[in-house]
């Protein structure tokens, strides 16, 4: 018998099509989960979904309509002055297709009340003094996750009204203040979702996917705040499979996913993930299932060094973002000091 070394062992269960799902069965499973959660466990009478015109919220809305019918689903369009004007156009197109009546709310005044924009702008000016509110801005990470060992540091990019672009690395304190200020957007959206849900005795349906939840790409008590998750168990590429099956319009499926957080267009890839979804999903799956680096590299036609970098980054992200997924920490009664 010939002994096979770890480096020669090929994981036959891992292949590039491993994330292909039975879309009909998965749809039925999620619809049943939504009904069971909302009606039976939470005793709510319908669902509120925040729709942005992006792929995740479109799929969550489609599933909610299947679960509860169009009359018991509120599609909430939450715009503010820096949102893409394309968002409500696409969201309304989506609602027309599924027979739901969209409800639009402008949250700009609420964000101004919190000081979202001015707190962020002050922090950016610490790094780029000439920046003012006529500029657009975004923060990004380097895109070369597979090809560099560098630990990604955030940069801020500002674009003047004339179109001149300037990018600088963000030091610690301005970075923290920019993130804290812009997080008002997700938290204000969450507050408005709950206003509409509570005024109807409905539940809020979360629109985060597995990549966002597991890697920590969400705002605690912001877009992470919901009663029931519809697609948090699905990789982004699986969300696209469902979108096709459910009939999400091509105009939405073709859109590059963005953060809808910064005034300059920012893709999710450049803001956080640092990899195209097709590559990241497979590498993430492989890392989660402890597929040997050599097997993943062979199946994906990458080098072992590239796969090792991705595995290391994923483990680091998971650890770094535990805080976001943790619930409120409290002592239990039996831990009390009473005698």
């Amino acid at each position: 018998m010939t002994e096979v070394s770890a480096s020669e062992r090929v994981d036959v269960s891992f292949h590039p099509s491993i994330l292909t799902i039975d879309v009909e069965a998965e749809t039925n499973r999620i619809v049943e989960h939504l009904r069971d959660s909302v009606i039976r466990r939470l005793s709510r009478q319908g669902a509120v979904v925040g729709v942005s015109g992006g792929i995740d919220s479109s799929v969550a809305l489609a599933l909610s309509v299947r679960a509860f019918g169009p009359d018991r689903v509120v599609a909430l369009i939450l715009q503010e002055k820096e949102s893409s004007p394309e968002n409500p156009v696409l969201a309304r197109e989506l609602c027309r297709g599924w027979g739901t009546t969209p409800v639009a709310e402008d949250i700009t005044a609420a964000l101004e009340g919190f000081g979202c924009y001015c707190r962020r702008d002050e922090a950016i000016r610490e790094v780029i003094p000439e920046y003012d509110s006529t500029y657009r801005s975004k923060i990004t990470l380097p895109a070369n996750l597979l090809d560099s060992d560098a630990l990604g540091l955030f940069s801020v990019t500002v674009i003047s009204p004339e179109g001149d672009e300037q990018t600088k690395r963000l030091p610690l304190h301005p970075y923290l203040r920019i993130v804290a200020a812009t997080n008002f957007k997700q938290r204000t959206r969450m507050a408005m979702l709950y206003n509409h849900a509570e005024s109807r005795n409905y539940a809020v349906i979360g629109t985060a996917n597995k990549n966002e939840r597991d890697q920590g790409f969400f705002v605690k008590y912001g877009d992470g705040g919901a009663d029931v998750d519809a697609i948090a168990h699905l990789y982004k590429t699986q969300v696209y499979q469902l979108a096709t099956y459910l009939g999400v319009p091509d105009s939405i499926q073709r859109r590059t996913p963005t953060t809808d957080t910064y005034s300059a267009p920012t893709t999710e890839e450049e803001f956080f993930f640092r990899l195209p979804f097709e590559t990241m999903d497979l590498l993430w799956y492989a890392e989660e299932h402890q597929v040997p680096i050599e097997s993943a590299a062979e199946a994906m036609q990458l080098t072992t060094q590239q796969v090792a970098r991705a595995y290391r980054e994923f483990a680091h992200r998971r650890r770094s973002t535990d805080y976001l997924r943790s619930h409120v920490l409290a002592l239990s009664a039996r831990d009390s000091g009473s005698r």
Partner: protein
């Protein structure tokens, strides 16, 4: 006053900063402990270390230098800092001789 660019002083400053800033003086780190692997340094922590090196040790750190091989342990940080001090000139490590 004498400027001392001694490895032992660098090591002590880095070690003390990590223990005080990331462990709140409730624990200790060995010189070869993986700071990233053990969760001592998360992404914000890496930024804090960069700030420490730039402000307290007067070093200039480029994006390309923020690598695990330079930041993942006290040993790695000491090697990185002492090499930088050799190329960047003096650091902010100043002590008083009596």
């Amino acid at each position: 006053m004498t400027e001392i660019t001694d490895t032992a002083v660098v090591r002590q400053q880095i070690h003390d900063y990590i223990v005080a800033n990331f462990l709140f003086d409730t624990g200790d780190v060995k010189d070869d402990t993986s700071l990233i692997g053990q969760g001592v340094l998360d992404s914000t922590g890496v930024l804090e270390m960069v700030l420490f090196l730039e402000e307290r040790l007067s070093l200039s750190v480029s994006d390309e230098e923020v690598l695990p091989e330079h930041f993942d342990s006290v040993d790695a940080l000491v090697a990185f800092v002492t090499a930088k001090m050799g190329t960047d000139g003096s650091s902010g490590l100043v002590t008083h001789e009596t």
